[in-house]
């Protein structure tokens, strides 16, 4: 298993293939999410461990102490880490590819996955050439790439403005969560209607370790409706509450007629 390989040597490369079958067409826009469980992105020390000022592009050789212990690389090398802090350091870095049996590689988009407001207001790159700007800064210890090399294909999707990073930095409320990973490109031929029924292969380049803390990883493909993804909770709750209210209404009408005192 890849998980064990990774555990032994975090730098080793391991690819995991998973096949699955869609019984019916996924009509409309399809989104790919990764899900983690038992991952405490909402832990106090974790939530705190970021430097918002740095993420706005105001690089400082001494990042906020909130980032400890991911402020500087180590005691000897006093280069500041960019982006600093535990959140950035634990960026999800598995690489997932989706291959359709019939149509081959499914084209996935890695932009448009972050909230526009975040991208606009909370994450800014330092001005000038990114490589130059980050020269004096180290990458977080867990990372395999530098912050300015996150998306080799799209120079605008690098640095702090990388959408994978932005999505990750929006810490989840609960230890079980999903985050948007990719959008299926519906402009490509064969995917205009959505994801058609058939066999698919998930090719996962396994980098991210969850085994030590008993976490699990999931990949979720989902379409959306007006209320977002599939979530039966609201529907059930409404039916239950509605019935209770109706019952109460009848009950109180009876009470009022029978024992109501004026």
């Amino acid at each position: 298993m890849c998980a064990d390989v990774i555990l032994k040597d975090p730098t080793s490369e391991c690819t995991c293939d998973i096949t699955f079958t869609l019984d019916k067409d996924f009509a409309g826009k399809v989104y790919m999410y990764y899900g983690l469980t038992n991952f405490y992105q909402n832990h106090r020390r974790y939530v705190k461990s970021r430097d918002d000022s740095q993420l706005l592009g105001r690089l400082n050789p001494k990042p906020s102490s909130d980032c400890n212990p991911f402020t500087t690389t180590n005691a000897n090398d006093t280069r500041a880490i960019a982006p600093c802090g535990a959140i950035a350091n634990s960026l999800f870095n598995d690489e997932i590819e989706l291959i359709s049996e019939k149509l081959g590689q499914v084209k996935l988009l890695n932009t448009g996955i972050a909230w526009p407001s975040d991208k606009k207001m909370k994450f800014n790159n330092p001005s000038g050439d990114l490589t130059e700007a980050f020269k004096e800064y180290a990458k977080p210890p867990n990372w395999r790439k530098n912050v300015y090399e996150l998306d080799p294909n799209n120079p605008d999707n690098n640095g702090f403005e990388n959408e994978d990073l932005i999505v990750w930095m929006r810490t989840s409320a609960l230890p079980t969560f999903r985050k948007l990973y990719r959008r299926v490109d519906h402009t490509a031929t064969g995917f205009v209607q959505g994801l058609l029924a058939g066999n698919y292969l998930l090719k996962i380049k396994y980098n991210y370790s969850v085994k030590p803390f008993d976490g699990t990883k999931r990949v979720i493909l989902s379409t959306t409706s007006l209320l977002g993804g599939k979530n039966p909770f609201l529907g059930i709750a409404y039916i239950v509450v509605g019935s209770i209210c109706l019952l109460l209404g009848v009950l109180f009408l009876l009470i009022h007629i029978k024992c109501g005192k004026r």
Binding site: K29, Y31, Y33, N38, F39, Y40, Q41, N42, H43, R44, R45, V47, D52, N68, P69, A86, N89, S90, I113, A114, W115, S117, D118, M121, K122, N142, V167, R170, S172, A173, L174, P175, F177, R178, K179, L180, S209, F213, D214, S222, T224, L226, L227, G228, G229, K230, N231, F233, L234, A237, Y238, V241, C245, F252, I255, H256, C259, G260, K261, R262
Partner: protein, 1226 residues
Amino acid sequence: MARQSRPTSSTSTASTRRRRGETERRIRANDREFNAQFHYANNYIKTSKYSVLTFLPLNLFEQFQRLANFYFLCLLVLQMIPAISSLTPVTTAVPLIGVLALTAVKDAYDDYQRHVSDSQVNNRKSLTLRNGKLVEDKWAQVQVGDVIRMENDQFVAADMLLLSTSEPNGLCYIETAELDGETNLKCRQCLLETAEMGQDDARIGAFNGEILCETPNNLLNKFEGVLTWQGKSYALDNDKVVLRGCVLRNTQWCYGMVIFAGKDTKLMQNSGKTKFKRTSIDRLLNFIIIGIVFFLLSMCLFCTIACGFWETITGRHFQIYLPWDKLVPTDPTEGATVIALLVFFSYAIVLNTVVPISLYVSVEVIRFVQSFLINWDEHMYHEKSGTSAKARTTTLNEELGQIEYIFSDKTGTLTQNIMTFNKCSIGEKCYGDIIDEQTGEVLELAEGTVPIDFSANPDYEPEFKFYDKSLLEAVRRKDETVHSFFKLLALCHTVMPDEKSGRLEYQAQSPDEAALVSAARNFGFVFKERSPNSITIDVMGEREVYELLCILDFNNVRKRMSVILRKDGKLRLFCKGADNVIYERLKNNSDSRKIKTQDHLNKFAGEGLRTLCLAVRDLDDDFFNDWKNRHQAAALSLDNRDEKLDAIYEEIEKDMELLGATAIEDKLQDGVPQAISKLAQAGIKIWVLTGDKQETAINIGYSCQLLTDDMAEVFIVDAHTFEEVELQLGKLKDAIGNLEKSDGVNGGPTAVSVVTFSESDYQHGCSVEEPEISGGIALVINGHSLVHALHPKLEKLFLEAASQCKSVICCRVTPLQKAMVVELIKKNKHAVTLAIGDGANDVSMIKAAHIGVGISGQEGMQAVLASDYSLPQFRFLERLLLVHGRWSYFRMCKFLRYFFYKNFAFTLCHFWFAFFCGFSAQTLFDPIFISFYNLFYTALPVMSLGVFDQDVNDKNSLSYPKLYTPGHQDLLFNKKEFLKSAMHGFFTSCILFLVPYGTYLDGVSPKGHALSDHMLFGSVVATILIIVVTAQIALDTAYWTWWSHFTIWGSLCIYFAFTFITNYVFGGSYVGSLSKAMIEPTFWFTTILTVTLLIVPVLAWRFYFVDVKPTLSDRVRLKQRLESLRSRQSQDILRTPSARRTRRSIRSGYAFAHQEGFGRLITSGKIMRKIPRPNTDFSFPLSFGSTIGASLSPRKPVVATSSSSSAGAFNNLAPPEIPGGFNEQS
């Protein structure tokens, strides 16, 4: 009168401690250098606490002594520690600084007021002798040993020894209302030796007497000292000393030497620090807060343990992404333990909002505004005096809604202290009623009734009002009995005439006598002047001089007074007194006059009037001379003189002829009976504590409906010994027991208020039945019995018996006893007490009670100054309690219930979140939201509820006094109600967390973005919380004003506006979260679901109780609503319980409210400025008063000075021998 001083105040103990060395005080007059060596306090007075420099440190120190402030300071310190801090320190610092600043401003203002009043007092001017010259000086600069000149109607600046006065014999009159509440004049007399100095400044300036006296203390009627002057020593006692706070009256000037000044004066020694009063809600709050703190700590403890487990099971392994802090040991168990311990404090910070810091501030602000509502109430404005009700303490309002016992003073509080000559019966005919000329019926006195015009009489008084013309006609007819009647009134008294700006004025020591003499005056029998042996009156313009042979003075046993007069050789005895006493001494024949007059007396008494019978007896010379000789012998006897004199008096006061009776009205204040009956219906027990006599007290008890004929018994306890009192109380208890038994047979007391809403009632509104409460026992207890009843051994018995009586009247009680009675009830009954009074003698009681109310607009301000609320009239108490008190209590309780609910609902969300964030003390909400929640988002609506809400309007509050009773049992806010609110909050937070949890766990927006992030989730829960909590307050608001609308809708707007501003304008980290959430339909569906889930059960619960078990308040509210719907009609149908005029039992009242001993003063001539004409026939004063009244009798010459024996002393003082004083003025 053995008046004891009030309990020793803290100031006095402090000052005595400070100068423990001072065992005696040595002062030399006019010698500042000599006196300076002892460092006596000068006359500077300081009641303020701070100066500009000391204000900040002292005030902060005081504020941090309050537990709440200290608690938040600790929290603030904790938040500064990075390893613990789960919230930025700002969240605590902002509210804490706000609270401290607000309180500091208030304290500063209060202290400024004290500075102002201090400097006003200290800068009063006084005339001080310096080197034999009078210099105007400030009060503050007066020092011990200085000699001061005081003038009429001036306040006395310090405690001083009288040296000389303008009045004969070195007498001087003072009013001590500020000190002990007694408004009658008292006289003081200086040493005759010093009195000789007169107003010769040079002589007085050279006065170098030395005083050796006691150290400063707070005993008002005790002074001991010795004056050494010119080689002789003179004993000094209380009669030679005037105290600071007295006012000089009827004395042109006097000189005195300062003995105690400033804080050493008896006035200041008595003005103990006002106790800080707290309401029962305050105490309950403190208890609850401590409970909450324990709850908080247990939550923290739970989280700590859970955190320990989490770190060991999960957190330890999660270190690849989230390593532990450096200071935490790497060993898994140790590390987890350390982290868990730190988390304890972190959670203490996160969850601290269950103990809301803003609670205290909000409570204070609400009470403050409520006080203004009391001050502004037009219905409590008294036009005549131009004063309105005033809340002097702003922290006690809600306790006004819980009063169970009212202790009321009588004179000046229930009554106006105005006696009016109201009716009389002369020779079988009753005068005073206004009779309709056509029907012959007695008319009620109405506004338009025209009083008789007395202006034909040059000496008439415009204030005097009498309505029955037939009496004046009888006078003009020269009806002989009527003339004798009025002559008696003009002659038989101890009133002194006085000329003030050309008008004749009377100085009476009892208002009853003044009323009688002034009645005679208006009817044309003007008492003009008196000398030791003559009385001059004007009868219908003709001068008549009577030779005064003897005054048979009044005392408590005799209950009558007589004068023996001679005119034109005819000797006559005039007597007035209590009816039973007079009737026993009438001629032994069955006269129709006796029977008729008795009827009239009964009628008068039934109307609550104070009656006196008048009788005369013609004497012959032989009998009188014989009697006079025996009288003289008795008067000179050394032993049992009083008894002998009484026996002698008895001999001559018999076989009298009845003239008639007078009826004096001790005017009640307006609306007193109505107010009392309303308050009684509200379940409040009213006790009257008065210094008056038993008879007067009972009389007033009847006229203000405290005592009624329905009562099974009026039980009087008047024993003098411990055993007897015990016996009497035992009997009383038995009587109560018997009564209860018989009640039990009859099916129990019917004192239950029933509201019936029948079908037909809907047509006319609803009627409320208040059945008359019949039966019950009233207790009247005398001061001397009370001494024993308050003894620790009898206390319980007394309390048990008294608290079962319907009304209790304590008469002849001292101020200290008043306070003790209040303390007794306070201590043992755990009931809220209110004391109301007008005079300085009520101060101790006002201070002792939970709430003190002073009647303002009277002369003395002492009671008002010591009080928490001041009212112009007693009747406003009804509105103060039944409307404002009830509202305040209702509001405060509602406020508190809601306040705890909203804080629990808010804070516990963090607790639920703890289960999902590894017990790491992460907050669910934005820190900014946390600091603003109590301050801006939810504060205003609940404040407006606390200030304006009302379940029932003021009119109905007054119409249904039973609405007041929930306060007695603390029904609206108690531990149970608190738990209910807390549980409500608990479940609210639970649902608030769980519903969004369900919807947002896998939440995705239509555009595919995950919506399950922390910031969005926090914003969603926060927003729903605000909506729910606002909906709840809207539901709780029973009385919507524009202000409620403004605050409730405003709060919602403020929330959204602030969130927008803080995030978008100041760039908060939560930027975009809420707006992102709100554009998604998921949010709205979740909100509707949550709000429904939370509000519907509340609605159902309330509907059930209002529908099935409505309280009186619910019913009245329903009625009120129906009324406002079909507005008009109903008003007249609503039966407002009117003050019913019950027929009162036949009692005899008698109208001697004055003290004895004045008769002797008159005949000795001591108090007369000039003697109209020397009388050679009767140079020997005949009347030797019996016992000497403590404060009014002239002083016996004391010890060292006087060479003569006590009997001879009177001779020395008799007019011809008196040196100085007398003749130099005439």
